[in-house]
């Protein structure tokens, strides 16, 4: 169904970039038999802390002690963001910048403000902000929004590897754990474990979902 929503460039999914079994343009983790992360745990943890600041959702809610398949989404999103050498470099710089802000005493809300809109109130155009947004959107939607980032803020283009300048769903697992639906006190369309008739009454609270305002 369609109506008024704005036109988007043709969007591809992770696998549709090529029909061949071994597509060089895909991130390495998608070819491997497991999600391979070659960064130290401390870096992933920093990435998670930064994500928590951006989203306003606690790190131990984004990555709880007990996770399905022991597969933390932080690792998944980190590996997508750092899949190319350029992305790796950008994320490194972003995390360095994030640590600096924290060391300077910035609260999570301040970190988010600085990373997303600098001091202007408009979306910040720095390379760090590009990856902050991309990270935030992966947690929110399970989508890598490289194409939208570039078409909305053309200055971001040099920060993103050409193979990643499109929008794609990271995976069905990412889609099913997308936080925007929990913020809406619902579930991803096409994936609900709620009961018959659950729509007839009020949904669980934000607190139930693990989100504290």
């Amino acid at each position: 169904m369609t109506g008024l929503h704005h036109r988007r460039s043709i969007l591809k999914s992770a696998g549709a970039l090529s029909g061949v079994l071994l597509a060089p343009a895909l991130p390495l983790w998608a070819l491997a038999d497991e999600v391979t992360v070659t960064a130290p745990q401390s870096e992933i943890d920093t990435y998670t802390q930064m994500s928590a600041a951006l989203l306003g959702i606690e790190a131990n809610v984004l990555v709880p002690e007990l996770i399905q398949d022991n597969l933390p989404l932080s690792e998944l999103y980190f590996s997508v963001a750092t899949a190319t050498p350029l992305g790796r470099e950008m994320v490194d710089r972003l995390l360095v910048y994030y640590r600096m802000l924290v060391d300077q005493g910035a609260s999570p809300a301040q970190v988010a403000r600085i990373l997303l809109s600098g001091s202007t109130g408009r979306p910040s155009l720095t390379m760090e902000s590009t990856y902050a947004r991309l990270t935030m959107m992966m947690w929110l939607y399970g989508i890598w929004y490289g194409g939208t980032e570039v078409s909305t803020l053309p200055t971001s283009e040099p920060y993103i590897d050409p193979a990643y300048r499109s929008d794609f769903i990271v995976s069905a697992r990412a889609y099913k754990n997308a936080w925007i639906w929990r913020i809406a006190q619902s579930h991803p369309m096409g994936f609900s474990n709620f009961a018959f008739g659950s729509w007839a009454e009020k949904p669980p609270t934000l607190g139930d979902y693990g989100i504290a305002l």
Binding site: M1, R7, K12, L54, L116, F168, I169, W181, F196, L206
Partner: protein, 616 residues
Amino acid sequence: MAKGEKYDVVIVGSGFAGANLALILGREGKRVLIIESGDNFPSNREDYMENFYLNTFKSPNSPYSPDSNALDPCHTNAPRPTIQALVEADGRVPDWNNPAKSYFTYTEGSLPFASTYERGVAGGTGNHWMGTCLRMGDEDLKLRRDFGHGLDWPIDYDYLEPFYGLAEHQIGVSADVEEQKIVGTRFPADYRYPMRGIPLSNWEKIAKARVDGPPLTNERYAIDRTVVTATPAGRNSEPYQERRVCHGNTNCTPVCPIQAKYDPTVSLDQALATGNVEIRYKSVVDYIILDSSGRIGGVHYQTYEDISVPATPGQTGEGRAMGTIYVLAAHAVENAKILLHSARISGRPIANSSDQVGRNLMDHPVYLAWGLLPPDAPAYGYRGPISTSGIETLRHGPFRRDRAAWRIELGNAAWNWPVGDPYVTGLDYIYGTDNGAANPRRAVHGNKDYVRVLNDILTRQFRIGFLVEQDAEARNRVRLSTREVDNLGIPRPLITYDLSDYTRAGFEKAREAAREFMARIGAEDFTRTVSAAENPTTFDYNGQSYNYSGAGHLCGTHVMGTTARNSVVMHSQQSWDHDNLYIAGCGSMPSIGTENPTLTMMAVNWATARDIIRRL
């Protein structure tokens, strides 16, 4: 059966009409062959669901092959219209009118046809239907006699009534008779739906409490009340046919993950289990063969293997199927295409002495309205079936002399359809844009501000949709393109499409009713219209602009009627011109009222089945 042998019935298409005909005939011990253009339905729904989850463009096409993100109908083996072709723009030429991208081609001055269908999967378009199962009313079937517009059915509601019951039990419809009587539907005294009605959603209950009352416009209606009622639906409220009950996946269209919503593969599965029904997949019937006496002598089909886009190999083989009786059940547009192509090949009209084949193309163009409920009564949408209620009491009445009727569907998926949320507004607050109109200050938020603002907006969103009747007009038609073909060399449709003033006047009143709805519910109205440059499905009327969406209801291309001169088929859907040919589906409907056509089509189909059995 061995090649060359004749079946009792050859059916083209395994959708609602074809699969159910095959089931009824198979249960009667008839030998049936189905020729299906699409792929086998997979042994499980994981494939469709993964297609859907991974698709960034979650249209009704999105779970089904061929891939609707790749627009290349010339190089697709069984292409069909896509929403992407409707909205994407390749440079300056809008894609809907670009034959390299759009399956449909258009004559000059046409409006874009806003609805799509499926050909690449067994079960056809029924895979992505919503599930709404409203019966048409007496006056819906006599639009010309009673109101001077469109065409009349050759039968009336009393004729259809018992078949409606059969259809409702085959599909498994959840509704309560007493409630449905409120909207004017007539039932036999002891009739019961197979399952209880589905409860209204949280926001629909709010709407009912605030909106029920006088009609929404100052016109004369048969029932002069606005009443929100639960919508009868082919969606389980109790375990039925070994299928699960609805769990509110909010995904009816395009695909119910758990098949709580009926789809034609349920009947196809049952048909195959009788042992009397065979099916050939990836086989596209391109033309009908006449014998020397002018009866149908066979259907010719091409086979293909490659479902990818672009497909490299095209035709892999061909065949000819023969039966005592033939049924075209390939969908309204495809039925017409087959008949017209057969005429082109044979040099004489096939089933078309009336010249009505392809004409009277109709849809339900939809007027969408959306808003935010007040903070003290959030909607909490994005839950439940996509729609569980509607306003049906305003469908009928003397106003139909002046403007097209509509029914109002209340939607549970918040602003997903009209705006593309939660994506658009969610991104608006990251990029400081206002594409969804809910970020007028173009703020950029993060951390708790983001959560707070998005939670507030998303939980208050709601939408309603007016399904506006389109009257049959001979000028709205499907013909064959003389230039464009698909990868199998079959000519693609050439569409001429417009909306009559009658229908446009219906939109005008829909807008008025929507505003009254918003006022009663205390909502902040966010409905807006964009220009044709931004959205090609736009028209003007009486100084105002309207955007229209498609409800997915393609009808009218082989209407039934009283004579061979004014229609293509009899009320049994038998062709006037060839006595061993039936043409089945929504294409037979001379008028479509405001109701989603599937249930009525199923009822008509039942009568067709009885007729075929009687003759065999």
